[in-house]
Symmetry: C2
Subunit: 243 residues, 2 copies
């Protein structure tokens, strides 16, 4: 066993504090992620069940989500200034601030869905498109969940799967939109209601995009390569390069 | 005149390099800003003039914008790791990475507008909503320009004005959408084309949101306070506190 000097003790102490800071940041991000996940599933439920009370509660809670983002960014600035992280620690800090922005935007979309849920429930009568909203909704909710799990476990493979899922959400979204346009043309009296459902689908599709962004930060975090905009093929090569 | 020692020289040299790094980062962001501004105005022109060639060129150039974001973020990581900036220097670095994300998203929206421009020009016959697209388009283009000028000059007052403009874009957007819905109901055969214009207006409205985000980072950069989500009133108090 090596003899521990005073200086080792200090170094150990500092690096312990540093690790605590990084853990706290990561936990903060995952807590925000959990809250945002709940917002998404509550917003979809408010829409499907025409539950305007739940819709209102989603809209109120969006403020908490916003503060969580600001608080994560404060923490990021503090860690950067005090700890001067490098290499993978620096990547973790950067990934946290980037992912927090995407989580906040997912929260915004959930809040919009809740708003449409409230106004659709006031109009009574479920229009077409609920089935699609439910389906795409559960798909993107799973993407958000998986992106956060990938973040929690530093799992680049799982992150890559999320990126791939986004393609299939985009396909589902486009096919649902085409159906809704046909429906509108057949029954022009339904235009306003169907438009509301279209906005909901658009929000869901954007939630998928944000989940994909978070997954890309996870790959950056784990692999050290920025995989945005490089296409799935090269992304796979990055993720599987060590295998 | 103080005697310059070897150590002063080195400190001076290092701090000069540091300043160069920060200047380079800022210039990179402003160059990306200029390119994105052009994408927005070209996309709107492609739509209004039914110029599908210009539309295609906007879509091609989006790749350059994407690489600019990645390159800024690489530079940000390098500056953070090597220079360990603090206080206002750190805020500048953080503001650059955040603003680059918003610029990239503005580029995405410009690319979407260009796509609708191409498909609308193929359908021939200008549908309703072009006047609104032109009007809101020039409004948000000005917002992007002003946000970037505010960034270049560290001008928090100008940034605050951009934030306030976003409210009026939102009002214009809502009123244009209401008109388009009415038009759709009166002439259901126009549904597909009017929907395309609606997506364009939606993209323009989002460009306004991103310009607002950039303006908020400028206020954070200059004043040191995170003004996201606090409302215009408190934001004004932050900007004018030293007057």
């Amino acid at each position: 066993m090596p003899i521990e000097t005073k200086s080792d003790e200090i170094t150990h102490h500092i690096s312990q504090q540093f690790n605590n800071d990084l853990d706290e940041l990561r936990n903060q991000l995952l807590a925000m992620g959990g809250a945002v996940e709940k917002q998404v599933s509550d917003a979809i439920r408010a829409l499907i069940d025409a539950d305007s009370e739940l819709g209102l509660s989603v809209r109120e809670k969006d403020t908490d989500i916003n503060y969580m983002e600001v608080s994560i960014d404060e923490n990021v600035s503090r860690v950067l200034a005090r700890r001067q992280p490098a290499a993978s620690d620096l990547r973790l800090v950067i990934a946290c601030t980037k992912a927090a922005t995407d989580l906040e935007r997912i929260g915004d979309e959930a809040s919009k869905i809740a708003r449409f849920g409230i106004s659709l429930s006031e109009q009574g009568e479920a229009p077409r498109g609920y089935v699609e909203a439910r389906h795409i909704g559960s798909h993107v909710r799973k993407m958000v969940q998986d992106a956060l799990n990938a973040f929690a476990r530093f799992d680049a493979d799982m992150a890559l799967a999320v990126v791939q899922e986004d393609k299939s959400v985009d396909r589902e979204y486009k096919s649902a939109m085409r159906e809704l346009v046909t429906y509108m043309m057949e029954d022009p009296r339904s235009i306003t209601r169907v438009l509301n459902i279209m906005w909901v689908l658009r929000s869901l599709e954007r939630i998928g995009d944000h989940a994909r962004n978070i997954a890309e930060y996870v790959i950056y975090l784990v692999k050290g390569t920025d995989v945005r905009h490089i296409g799935i093929k090269r992304m796979k090569a990055e993720v599987f390069e060590d295998l």
